[in-house]
């Protein structure tokens, strides 16, 4: 601490990343340290800038669907949905009811998968030597098995289509999904028993990286990070897209806005997601899984622009599309939640220790495929 004025100290500039164990990929933070305290932090990104937007402008509308999988590579299903939703908004395609239910099931399973891994990685950043991650990944494999039986791919599902989904769910896969949902609360209880009461975790996360409500709104922070700061905003409730208005579920909102709240909000969101899944799997109606008028080939979108968004596990995932009426989008823009959530990273980290920056970053839960696109 140089504040004493007696001891002359020198600041130390450290570049955390792009290869660093806990930057969740190729992300870099230029940190200026005074002892262990962070006095300045500038995020540097673009190390995974894969030109998603420009590639999509060269491609047919449907051609970009597999690319959306690779945005946030934990949550390919919700990415698919956000893109499909934006296009459906522009074309006015009606989605059959069964497809809407299937989408909800997929999205909520994705939320379970993402949140459990996010928490696992957060604890790994705390130094828990991979154990929580591997517990989370153990459960993730079951969900991936389900995705694989349904869509044919573990991670890059490419499952949604404009006006519905690609293939129907049969009874066997529905039973598989029910199985996963049934065992999830037990896993969560085990996880919480191991972690939530742990004094070291509490000491590391409580009152660390506080984000105020006003700053969260002003900086367009969305998703669990915003809700942990007391922003009552969930697009599932506000936009009521899909069939979310038919389910009974709550949106957990925190008060303190620190790292612990962000951790707890994710746990509670998983519990709510299990509720949604139970209802969806109970009520799923029969019927077509894709709108009969939806064309897969030679798909065109009327001229104009549109913005569609969903509540992805990491926050608001939006697609801004401009069409000239042709087979390709004229402009294709992704509003990635984790990119914009990074805006406040410096504000949260200033005055904290260098050890805190990695767990604050972990609690924001970024995925570089989405940050850099």
């Amino acid at each position: 601490m140089s504040a004493t004025g007696i001891i002359q100290t020198q600041t130390l500039e450290v570049s955390l990343g792009p290869q660093h164990p806990s930057t969740h990929g190729v992300f870099r933070m230029d940190v200026v340290l005074d002892g262990e305290y962070v006095v300045k932090l500038k995020p540097v990104m673009g190390y995974l800038h894969r030109n998603h937007e420009q590639l999509a402008e060269k491609m047919t509308w449907l051609g970009s669907m597999p690319y959306t999988d690779r945005l946030d590579y934990f949550c390919s299903m919700t990415n698919n949905w956000a893109y499909a939703l934006a296009v459906e908004k522009m074309t006015g395609l009606k989605v059959p009811e069964r497809a809407e239910y299937i989408r909800v099931i997929m999205a909520e399973l994705t939320r379970l998968l993402n949140h459990s891994c996010a928490i696992g990685f957060l604890l790994s950043d705390c130094g828990a030597w991979f154990t929580p991650v591997l517990y989370a990944l153990r459960e993730r494999e079951w969900i991936l098995d389900f995705f694989e039986t349904v869509s044919g791919a573990r991670m890059m599902c490419n499952y949604m289509r404009f006006g519905g989904v690609r293939v129907d769910l049969d009874d066997a896969s529905l039973a598989m999904a029910r199985n996963i949902v049934a065992r999830w609360p037990a896993f969560l209880d085990e996880f919480e028993k191991l972690m939530t009461e742990n004094e070291v975790l509490l000491a590391r996360t409580q009152r660390v990286g506080i984000l105020s409500r006003n700053l969260a709104i002003n900086a367009s922070v969305s998703g669990p990070v915003a809700r942990a700061s007391g922003v009552e905003y969930d697009i599932r409730k506000v936009d009521k897209y899909g069939v979310y208005d038919r389910f009974d579920f709550g949106v957990p909102v925190g008060e303190a806005g620190d790292t612990f709240d962000r951790y707890m909000i994710r746990i509670l969101e998983m519990r709510e997601a299990v509720k949604i899944l139970e209802q969806a799997l109970r009520d799923i109606p029969a019927g077509p899984f894709i709108a009969p008028e939806a064309k897969l080939r030679n798909f065109k979108v009327p001229a104009g622009d549109g913005y569609g968004r969903i509540e992805a596990p990491k926050g608001e995932l939006g697609f801004y599309l401009v069409s000239e009426g042709g087979a390709k989008p004229y402009r294709y823009h992704v509003r990635p939640p984790s990119f914009i959530n990074l805006t406040i990273l410096e504000d949260m980290c200033l005055g904290q220790k260098v050890a805190d920056t990695v767990i604050i970053l972990g609690s924001v839960d970024i995925v570089l495929g989405e940050v850099d696109r």
Partner: protein, 199 residues
């Protein structure tokens, strides 16, 4: 170098096992491949999945993910190498001590994959550093990574001490790190490692 097989079997009857140094050397290297903890993109998740409970790379002694390149043997280039990242990848490779191996995991690392048309995507990591094993797939399944690991082990066990490049004084020990240019990386490829296919 080689021991006469008759003598070897004779000695074995006496309880003496003759083992060439080379075998021991190769065995130790292949049994303890420590990867660098370095994920680039989507494939990195599958790499972690390969280390996780169901697939468990630890069985091969390869779960010691070292965060510092100085202590790693194996670089798994797991995902898209962008032009912005390429100098860092080369630098990391230079920082690893010999003998070192590279697995190019996934279509992006091999050739740019689905993102090949992009202006910021490197069309294959082998333009700058030599790659031992390529795994196709987008992303490759964890099983594919395990298979690549076993293939690498096989490759190592067939190496000969007098042929390996890291005792060769003339072989390049460091590869030039590309510079950020005004329009592209400079140079766009390392001609010593890679050259474009002939017309």
């Amino acid at each position: 170098m080689a021991v006469d097989p008759n003598l070897k079997s004779e000695l074995q009857k006496q309880g003496i096992f003759v083992m060439p140094v080379e075998f021991l050397y190769n065995w130790s290297r292949k049994s303890s491949l420590w990867p660098i903890q370095f994920g680039l993109a989507c494939c990195a998740i599958e790499m972690i999945a390969a280390a996780a409970a169901r697939h468990d790379m630890a069985r091969f002694g390869a779960e010691v993910f070292r965060a510092s390149p100085r202590q790693a043997d194996l670089m798994i280039v797991s995902g898209t190498v962008t032009k912005k990242m390429a100098p860092q990848v080369v630098r990391l490779y230079n920082q690893m001590p010999e003998p070192k191996y590279v697995i190019a995991m996934g279509a992006c690392a091999i050739s740019g994959g689905p993102f090949k048309d992009g202006y910021n995507v490197l069309k294959g990591v082998d333009r700058y550093i030599p790659v031992d094993i390529h795994i196709p797939g987008c992303p490759p399944r964890p099983e594919a990574l395990l298979h690549a690991l076993m293939t690498l082990q096989e490759k190592i066990s067939k190496q000969h001490l007098n042929e390996v490049s890291w005792y060769d004084k003339n072989a390049p020990s460091e590869f030039p790190v590309p510079q950020y240019g005004a329009h592209d990386l400079e140079p766009p490829a390392n001609p010593k490692v890679w050259e474009p296919p002939k017309k």
